[in-house]
């Protein structure tokens, strides 16, 4: 597949995510849809990579810390030719490498995640490695909002800031919903921008579905002498009206009719 528009790419990511989750009767479609625009901009406009050489030394490193939303990442990698679209059919099937939490056994996936609070420390380790060897590649890590309950993220942010790791970009998928209810009602994280700034980071807030805002904030030229944090305001279930902002789509998978309706709303035929 050859798609050079991030907007079109995001539609296909959403469509394949829906299809994979539906077929596998898997969970986490809502979070997959909330990060699809971020992934589309990253893989279309920001990250340096060669899908035929997934371990290319000077590639940028992307880590999906919210590993439960891996369907969207697998879809992105397939569309970008790391493997075939047909491979996505084995998502969450017996014996498949495409397990329903991010798996490093899949080409292009740097790190297996699934337990929250692991991606950022790992990303910091990679950023330290790049700095210590004077490498120009950069590290991008995508976290969920609920994941910020995990203390390891704040340990890692302290460290990254202390060591001025300006080759590290932390993106927060701030869709305001976590496992049982809203972030606000679970563990308040506001004022989030102030928190990251108090930790010494360079913080911007963007509409996580606006590709121009994402491109501008994710741009490698847009940096200071500290880790960059992008708080991406998103909508869980984005693009499918009956899934948007509904906590049950953290768990449910669309049946055939719902898949059909969802694909119609996304506007992509597979």
């Amino acid at each position: 597949m050859n798609i050079n528009s991030s907007v079109l790419l995001s539609k296909y990511i959403k469509a394949y995510t829906l299809k994979m989750v539906s077929k596998a009767k898997a969970s986490h479609v809502g979070g997959g849809l909330s990060i699809s625009d971020i992934l589309a901009v990253l893989y279309n406009n920001i990250l340096y990579f060669d899908s035929q050489k997934p371990l290319l030394e000077n590639r940028d490193r992307f880590i999906l810390s919210k590993g439960h939303c891996c369907a969207a990442l697998y879809a992105t990698l397939a569309i970008k030719n790391f493997f075939t679209l047909r491979d996505l059919n084995s998502f969450a099937q017996f014996g498949s490498n495409f397990m329903s939490h991010a798996s490093h056994k899949v080409k292009g996936v740097e790190f297996s995640t699934g337990s929250l609070g692991h991606g950022l420390p790992y990303a910091v380790g990679k950023a330290v490695a790049a700095k210590s060897r004077n490498k120009k590649w950069e590290v991008f890590v995508l976290l969920s909002d609920g994941e910020l309950n995990e203390g390891s993220n704040w340990e890692a942010t302290l460290f990254a800031s202390h060591h001025n790791l300006n080759n590290l970009t932390i993106i927060v998928d701030y869709n305001k919903l976590q496992s049982l209810t809203t972030v606000e009602k679970t563990i308040k994280i506001e004022p989030l921008k102030d928190k990251f700034e108090a930790f010494g980071c360079y913080v911007s807030e963007v509409n996580g579905h606006d590709h121009e805002e994402l491109k501008n904030s994710l741009s490698k030229t847009n940096k200071k002498n500290s880790p960059k944090v992008i708080i991406a305001h998103t909508v869980k279930g984005k693009g499918v009206s009956f899934m948007e902002n509904r906590v049950e789509w953290h768990y449910k998978s669309p049946d055939e009719d719902q898949l059909e309706m969802a694909l119609n709303e996304i506007g992509v035929r597979l």
Binding site: F111, S115, H118, V124, K126, A129, E155, A156
Partner: protein
């Protein structure tokens, strides 16, 4: 033990710029020389073991050989999921180095008693446990660790054995292989005390007692899930084995040997007895020698 470890690591770092030593804000009067000589290969991660261990995985993914150094429970139990998911599952080249194995820090209380660490670390499929008891074993463990590209746990006790003048150990030995420490007078005896870690002195004291005078002393300093299949042949040579460890019985070294014994084709019955720490040590504070004496360790 820790000083010898750091000397060997410092020597290796001279010719190997992939070595990265991370400390969890510990190592006063131990790590300074390394830090001065190789500042770019030294990181103080602060009092944050989860982050230190996750970062170690990230560094190892970029071909560093990372050593995470702390007091036993802090860089094991505190960050056990980081070891499980980030290091062991990805089979990264990270060596978790714990000082204060067993009751080395007995007087500091239960938080510092490292007496369940084998149980945790031996549950990881890719992990090799290195529990040296002699200077020769430390050197051999480090040699193996430098060669290895897999996760490792190096458990260091407080001191080297005082009651062992010269062990009968060879210069080289392999993971999973028992090594002879001291023969008993009856060279034909088919009984042995099998140790792991810094309990060689205790084994020597045991052997001096009438009851165990007929037991050779062997150690198994390098072990783990990967080496279980190597144990059958070694266990079968003996009529009786008494395992000795400064760890609780559950999930420990003796349990490991028992598991190996239960899964093998028996040539003959080998009687296996376990000697470990009394669980009541958890509620008692005192220096290592007092605690061991009080709870009749290795009696």
């Amino acid at each position: 033990m820790r000083n010898y470890f750091i000397d060997l690591l410092t020597k290796e770092a001279k010719s190997n710029n992939k070595i990265m030593l991370m400390v969890g804000d510990l190592g006063f009067s131990v790590v300074e020389n390394f830090k001065e000589k190789y500042p770019k290969q030294f990181i103080n991660a602060g009092v944050a073991e989860q982050n230190m261990t996750g970062m170690a995985a990230g560094l190892a993914s970029e071909k560093f050989h990372v050593f995470t150094y702390s007091i036993a429970n802090f860089n094991t139990f505190r960050c056990s999921e980081q070891i499980r998911n980030d290091i062991d599952y990805h089979n990264y080249n990270v060596t978790v180095v714990s000082v204060g194995g067993g009751l080395s820090y007995g007087a500091l209380g239960y938080s510092h008693h490292a007496i369940q660490d084998y149980a945790l670390m031996r549950s990881f499929p890719n992990m090799t446990i290195y529990a040296p008891g002699t200077r020769s074993e430390i050197a051999n463990c480090m040699k193996q660790i430098f060669k290895s590209k897999s996760p490792a746990y190096l458990r260091l006790g407080k001191t080297l054995p005082k009651n062992l003048k010269k062990p009968n150990q060879p210069h080289d030995y392999a993971p999973g292989k028992w090594t002879k420490i001291l023969e008993c007078k009856n060279r034909e005896s088919k009984k042995c005390i099998l140790t792991t870690g810094a309990v060689i002195d205790d084994a020597v004291k045991m052997q001096k007692k009438e009851e165990f005078s007929n037991y050779h002393i062997y150690s198994l300093p390098i072990w783990g899930m990967k080496y279980k299949t190597l144990q059958a042949q070694q266990i079968n040579k003996w009529d009786e084995i008494v395992t000795l460890e400064d760890h609780l019985e559950d999930g420990g070294f003796g349990s490991y040997i028992l598991e190996c014994n239960s899964s093998i084709q028996k040539v003959g019955e080998t009687k296996i007895k376990l000697k470990s720490l009394n669980k009541n040590v958890c509620n008692t504070v005192g220096d290592q020698d007092n605690l061991k004496e009080h709870f009749k360790f290795a009696h």
